[in-house]
């Protein structure tokens, strides 16, 4: 028995289909319970990241990326210059599983080279083997939140390039000016993206089969959160552009 899942009101999407069977046993993995409990308590986003290996360099890289993202979010949270407050993102995007992209730098006037890099390698995420490419069709568009710290004009250029190239299904931005302490470090924009993961990608990131009860329990919780956020009359509206680009390559 299968049913369609709904994490967001972002229009036509790749169908999320529950493969849970009626007589399936309840999940037994303690980590599933931990994740579901944490999601319930904060009504929060699920963000999946993964180390490429247990080599010291790979673990250190992931730790550095997460620390960088946490610090950036803390700065944006304290001093938002434009876009949505992080605490209010739930009004804009839905509850599919997400991952973070790597933290990137953007230099003034480097839009072309940035887009070229996206075209060649996609936007690398913190799930190894998954890079984000522009969508091939309407149902391959993803939800995205763009976080950035830097000069407001540069951030506007970055946002325009991002929207034009990736055509997110739903989009929010969280921008902040650099802090006084950072003024001497560099004037480039630092940014990362909170990307939606599709079902197969999320299962890959968690290291479980798509039809496992653990995966199903987590997705059930996310779906439940979306429905409770939606409410009886409230409808979310996609902010992303309607133009569909070409080509979404998967890992």
């Amino acid at each position: 028995m299968s049913r369609k899942r709904e994490f967001s009101s972002a229009g036509n999407r790749i169908p999320w289909e529950s493969k849970a069977k009626a007589n399936e046993q309840k999940y037994s993995q303690p980590w599933t319970e931990a994740v579901v409990k944490a999601l319930k308590q904060g009504n929060g986003f699920l963000v999946l990241v993964d180390s490429a290996s247990n080599a010291e360099s790979d673990r250190r890289y992931l730790d550095d990326q997460l620390a960088h993202i946490a610090v950036m979010q803390s700065q944006i949270n304290n001093l938002l210059s434009s876009g949505k407050e992080i605490g209010a993102l739930k009004d804009t995007v839905g509850y599919p599983p997400y991952t973070f992209s790597e933290v990137n730098s953007f230099y003034r006037g480097a839009v072309v080279s940035l887009v070229q890099a996206w075209a060649e390698d996609g936007m690398r995420t913190l799930v190894p083997d998954i890079s984000i490419y522009p969508p091939n069709s309407e149902d391959e568009r993803r939800e995205a939140v763009l976080y950035g710290i830097g000069d407001s004009n540069d951030l506007s250029s970055l946002e325009l390039a991002f929207l034009t190239y990736f055509h997110p299904a739903k989009f929010a931005r969280c921008f902040s000016e650099p802090t006084v302490e950072e003024a001497g470090i560099g004037r480039d924009v630092r940014f990362f993206v909170q990307w939606e993961l599709f079902e197969d990608e999320a299962a890959h990131a968690l290291g479980v089969p798509q039809d496992s009860p653990e995966f199903d329990a987590i997705l059930d919780q996310l779906e439940c959160q979306f429905k409770s956020a939606l409410g009886p009359a409230k409808k979310l509206r996609a902010e992303g552009p309607s133009v569909v680009g070409k080509g979404r390559l998967r890992w």
């Binding site: 303690p30 929060g44 990241v49 080599a55 610090v71 803390s74 968690l206 290291g207």
Partner: protein, 509 residues
């Protein structure tokens, strides 16, 4: 922090009711599990001993100096006397200055942090809760990123295992970080459950003390960072999962961003029978001839070697019962016990041992059930190539479970008695003698030791190249035709069951 800022911080008075880091740390320290108390006791005893020794030396030394110093000085020219006197004064003065400055500087920095937190009370904050041994890595990353600066808006509350935290409960670099270490779950299930229960209670109390002290009850963004893993970075979690533990034992977790870090990749391998084998963990070549299969490695080709005193690893070289291991694993023993494929121990005789190259060969009964490794050509290895090291850690926490570690070749040292392949595929004690494979499943080396790499803070794994292993076989007169080699591997590409030729056996056996 400059001297002027230190002075300013030091002489800034603490307002009534203001944060006192020392008190907060002592509050958090009471959550700890006895180690600091023992450490404090030891330090006190050592200090008393040191003071006694110094007084004793002074009592005996001063009369001697008074007696002999004028005689020695009188023998020197006046310039030398002045120089000696000045040198003595300068040395004593600098030593005293450094000691006092360190004490003063530490106190001033703590005051600076207190002021910083005090000022940050009105800011909006973000809290990160990190659990498991991965928390240590995250804390370190925050410190690296901060480069000594203080992040006013980020607080981290972590619960790393006790053995990953040497000292420090409230970090003052990077973000403001409280650290409540947890004990690894060891022993019986009941003991582990009791430890978890105590930890949960202490953690809650420590968490409340931390939030209250830094004024972070109201935070705007919260991360709950959960490490889902059974691997090298989450060894404690691995034990915990077996004992049905969840790292989310904290009751005050908002979790607005639930960041799930999966660090299990190619870490601890399970047998297929227990249903937790994960064939997707290692990105391996699917070429049918050389596929690295879980059913083969381990446990089929990996051996566990014990001589009653030491334990190590080994690898099956052929079906005639030739087992390769490290010479230091067998030590002086003439016979050892070998366990292959998780079956019972079988006796093996040591037929070759070379301390120079650390290679040793064992002989067990010939058996068709033995599955030999496919030997690759270690000469083709280049720096940066991905490799996997296997072995049986001696750590009782693994309880005979084989582990694999993925890494990259960081150096190849052809000079010396044998070619040494250095990689960052980190294995622990007990993995000596274990095999090193390429990602397509070719045996390219035997793990012997770990050593500091170019970055001395990191250890790298050293392995003797497979070419040296084959050379040793050749030198000893062993028949290499029974060793399975890949198409581009060294030697012949045959798999026969010829008996080992023991003629020409070296004298050091």
């Amino acid at each position: 922090m400059g001297a002027l800022e230190l002075l300013k911080s030091y002489f800034t008075s603490r307002r009534n009711g203001a944060l006192n880091l020392g008190k907060l740390e002592s509050k958090l320290r009471t959550q700890e599990t006895g180690l600091p108390r023992r450490r404090t006791l030891l330090c006190s005893v050592a200090a008393v001993f040191a003071v006694t020794v110094i007084i004793s030396m002074c009592q005996r030394g001063i009369p001697v100096v008074r007696e002999y110093l004028p005689q020695v000085m009188a023998g020197l020219p006046p310039e030398a006397q002045w120089l000696a006197f000045a040198g003595l004064v300068l040395t004593l003065g600098y030593g005293g200055y450094r000691t006092i400055f360190r004490m003063f500087s530490r106190a001033a920095k703590r005051r600076a942090v207190e002021m910083h937190i005090q000022n940050a009370r009105t800011d909006r904050k973000m809290m990160v809760y990190a659990y498991g041994s991965g928390a240590k890595g995250f804390m370190d990353a925050i410190e690296r990123l901060s480069q000594g600066a203080l992040f006013r808006y980020l607080y981290v509350f972590t619960q790393p295992p006790l053995d990953t935290v040497k000292r420090g409960f409230l970090r003052i670099k990077g973000s403001i970080t409280a650290c409540i270490p947890v004990q690894s779950a060891k022993g019986t299930y009941m003991a582990a459950a009791a430890a978890r229960s105590t930890e949960a209670q202490l953690s809650d109390e420590g968490h409340d003390a931390f939030l209250g002290a830094i004024g972070a009850e109201e935070t705007s963004v919260e991360w709950s960072m959960i490490h889902v893993g059974e691997g090298h970075t989450s060894i404690s979690c691995h034990t915990a999962w077996e004992e049905k533990r969840t790292t989310m034992n904290h009751s005050a977790l908002p979790g607005r961003f639930v960041v799930v870090v999966r660090d299990t990749r190619d870490a601890v391998l399970h047998s297929e029978e227990d249903g937790t084998g994960d064939e997707e963990l290692i990105d391996i070549d699917d070429s049918p001839d050389h596929r690295l299969q879980r059913s083969d490695i381990p446990p089929a080709s990996l051996a566990r070697i014990t001589d009653g005193v030491t334990a190590g690893s080994g690898v099956v070289m052929d079906r005639n019962g030739l087992i390769l291991t490290a010479a230091h694993v067998v030590g002086d023993s003439a016979s050892v016990d070998v366990r292959i494929d998780d079956l019972n121990d079988i006796g093996a005789s040591v037929i070759y041992k070379d301390q120079t190259t650390d290679l040793a060969f064992l002989k067990v009964e010939k058996s068709e059930s033995l599955i030999p490794v496919v030997t690759g050509n270690s000469d083709d290895l280049e720096i940066g190539d991905r490799v996997v090291a296997y072995g049986y850690p001696a750590d009782p926490e693994y309880e005979g479970m084989p582990v694999a570690a993925l890494g990259s070749v960081v150096d190849i040292m052809p000079d010396g008695p044998c070619t040494v392949i250095k990689s960052d595929a980190m294995v622990t004690a007990g993995c000596s003698g274990g095999p090193l494979f390429t990602l397509d499943g070719r045996f390219v080396g035997m793990v012997t030791s770990t050593t500091p790499g170019q970055d001395i803070s990191k250890l790298v794994t050293c392995a003797v190249s497979s070419q040296d292993v084959l050379d040793a076989l050749d030198d000893c007169g062993f028949d290499q035709t029974s060793v399975v080699t890949g198409p581009d591997g060294p030697g012949t590409n045959q798999q026969t069951n010829q008996k080992i030729n023991k003629e020409g056996k070296p004298t050091n056996v």
